[in-house]
């Protein structure tokens, strides 16, 4: 479970083309702590994490206090330089937090994330680089979704909403946290620590669509939770996702529609929807499984076995090519995009 989170964070740690730009030291007095932050901003992320681990807590706290003092400077240039360093510090401590998450070190994870959050709160109070303040919580939620760590996601989301305000993407992440909790609790025979509330998910998705009416992922998720609640509006919403939308969204919409028809006992229509999904993305496995199960249930064992073989014998298909895999992980698939945006905001 944690391996998935490692994949995304690994991209952050190792994915950069390391530049050897010497950081301008015109940022005033540097402390061992700010030197580590600068290493991180330069792209020397592993080295920065290593050096951060070697710092004493009082060095970090002194460095942080110095940064806060500079941030409050009357000199706009000095204040902005401090803000840039703080943005780097946020990413550094976030990386440290998820490194601890990987090692199941929950205490360290929470401590580092809280440290990063305190920086973000300070930036938010001054409205510095609002894009950073609004994007960072989305990255954290995406990573928590990827690790299926829903208790942490729920707690974090509550605080993020207070400090960063609502955006369509944050509302989507809030809804996805509820939806994931509900799904894992009800359908995966596991205890995610939160029960998840489909009504809350629905409300968040609807609000996201008010903010961004063309937000197709929010529409898809709204349709899905409505169908899970057996609300007839769900099929109408899913039906709005059509040929002009990306294949992955169409695939999921048809898969979810098939699921509704199957539950209703309309096997022929369910089979049509699943078949459409298979045609849209032949390398994805979920629709093949749905189709095979449907056919197996109506006695078409040859066809069911053939569906399994068609899907399970496919060579050179990436493990994660199925939209369902990502859908079931909330906003995890958005993580790399957020990461890239945040990287551009911390570079010296």
């Amino acid at each position: 479970m944690r391996t998935a989170a490692r994949a995304t964070w690994g991209a952050l740690v190792t994915g950069l083309v390391l530049c050897t730009v010497t950081i301008a030291s015109a940022q005033g007095a540097r402390t061992p702590y700010t030197e580590v932050i600068d290493l991180y901003r330069e792209g020397l992320e592993n080295l920065a994490l290593e050096k951060l681990a070697g710092l004493m807590m009082d060095e970090i706290v002194r460095g942080r206090d110095a940064l806060f003092a500079k941030l409050a400077s009357k000199s706009p240039a000095e204040s902005e330089r401090a803000a840039a360093t703080i943005r780097g510090a946020v990413m550094l401590h976030t990386a440290r937090a998820f490194s601890a998450f990987e090692r199941n070190n929950n205490g360290e994870f929470r401590f580092q994330l809280t440290f990063a959050q305190a920086y973000v709160d300070k930036l938010a109070s001054l409205d510095h680089r609002a894009a950073f303040v609004r994007t960072w919580p989305l990255l954290v939620l995406a990573l928590l979704h990827e690790g299926r760590s829903l208790i942490a996601a729920e707690q974090f989301a509550r605080r993020a909403r207070n400090s960063s305000g609502d955006s369509a993407e944050l509302l989507l992440a809030l809804g996805a946290t509820e939806e994931m909790g509900w799904w894992i609790h009800h359908e995966e025979d596991a205890d995610p620590g939160v029960r998840g509330d489909l009504k809350d998910a629905e409300r968040n998705y609807r609000q996201a669509l008010i903010v961004a009416p063309t937000f197709i992922e929010a529409r898809l998720r709204l349709g899905r939770v409505l169908t899970l609640r057996e609300d007839p509006e769900g099929m109408k919403v899913l039906g709005q996702i059509g040929q002009s939308d990306e294949a992955a969204f169409q695939y999921l919409a048809r898969l979810f529609e098939g699921d509704v028809h199957e539950k209703r006992g309309d096997i022929a229509e369910a089979e049509r929807r699943y078949t459409t999904a298979v045609t849209l993305l032949p390398t994805a496995q979920s629709a093949y499984m749905a189709l095979a199960h449907l056919r197996h249930g109506r006695g078409a064992r040859n066809e069911a076995a053939q569906d399994i073989r068609s899907s399970a014998r496919a060579t050179d298909v990436p493990d994660t090519s199925d939209p369902w895999f990502w859908y079931a992980r909330g906003t995890a698939w958005r993580g790399p995009g957020y990461l890239e945006q945040l990287r551009t905001m911390i570079r010296p």
Binding site: A4, M289, H296, A305, S311, D319, T320
Partner: protein
């Protein structure tokens, strides 16, 4: 959403081969019904019984049963191995060794298939009498990704063929499902529609877990089968199989061979249903008439 299509992990090249599978129908009527039965007393298998020792009721109606010699029926062994990230390292090595040990114990007419499941279910080898093909498939196993346990269990059941062989689905998993599309009831329903017997091998490694409850730290132990939830228990019970426990990675080999030995020591009863509906779900009750012992058999079957 384009990223959904992109590979975040390296694709695994599968060994594939042609497979001809025909539908298996678990019918009542002219071909009769076959029921795999396990009899135990405590931890011991009860051997030496014959058809006359059993009382079998189909929908409460007593049936006249006969016994089929197990040795006369070829075995279809469908292996479904969890290859998610948690299996990497020594566990994978032990798993492959355990699988190899099964091949040594098969008879010439027996066939084997190998499915792996992680984020995706992969058919590495279709049902084949070729041990070499299975050895080659074992060599391709690599541990990475999530766990699509339910999808894999269904795939294994769906690959059962219409041949007269007995089918043993052997599932190894060390964790909970994190990737399947199919829900547990759907897979259990599919299990009711085949005559495959499902055994699951789970690791029973105890490890300390710290929980903070009411301000107190409570330490207790958990096993991997608890993580796998109730699904494997339900699935195996429904098909007349059971969950076997390995105490460690090294114990996997012995547990696998014990599973195969137990399957071979089961009784196969057959009967032509009389006095019952030709279609629908049929509840089965199998008991011993006089002798003592616990009888484990599938809970019923769908007549189609």
């Amino acid at each position: 959403m384009t990223r959904l299509h992109n590979a975040w992990v390296v694709a695994i090249v599968l060994v594939s081969a042609t497979l001809t599978v025909t539908a298996q129908r678990f019918r009542s009527g002219t071909i009769g019904v076959r029921v795999d039965v396990l009899v135990t007393q405590g931890q011991e298998l009860v051997r030496g019984l014959n058809a006359g020792d059993f009382e079998l009721r189909d929908e409460g109606v007593l049936q006249k049963v006969s016994e089929i010699e197990v040795e006369q029926i070829p075995l279809n062994l469908i292996l479904a191995f969890d290859t998610s990230g948690s299996v990497a390292g020594e566990r994978m090595h032990s798993l492959v060794q355990a699988g190899e040990s099964l091949l040594d114990r098969l008879r010439p007419d027996d066939r084997v298939a190998l499915l792996s499941f992680a984020t995706r279910v992969r058919l590495l080898a279709p049902l084949t009498p070729s041990r070499q093909q299975i050895h080659g498939a074992f060599a391709t196993l690599a541990a990475q990704g999530a766990t699509s346990l339910r999808d894999a269990a269904f795939a294994a059941l769906a690959l059962r063929e219409t041949d007269p062989g007995r089918t043993l689905v052997l599932i190894f998993s060390d964790g909970t499902d994190t990737a399947s599309w199919l829900r547990a009831p759907a897979v259990i329903d599919a299990a009711k529609r085949t005559d495959s017997v499902v055994y699951a091998v789970a690791l029973a490694e105890y490890r300390p877990v710290l929980n903070i409850s009411g301000g107190r730290i409570i330490q207790h132990s958990t096993t991997t089968v608890q993580e796998a939830g109730k699904f494997l228990e339900h699935l195996t019970e429904e098909t007349g199989g059971r969950v076997m426990f390995a105490n460690s990675n090294k114990d996997l080999r012995a547990t696998f061979t014990q599973t195969l030995a137990e399957f071979r020591d089961r009784y196969v009863l057959s009967y032509t249903p009389t006095g019952v509906s030709p279609t629908g779900w049929h509840r089965l009750d199998v008991k011993l008439k006089k002798k003592s012992g616990k009888v484990t058999a599938r809970r019923g079957y769908f007549a189609e």
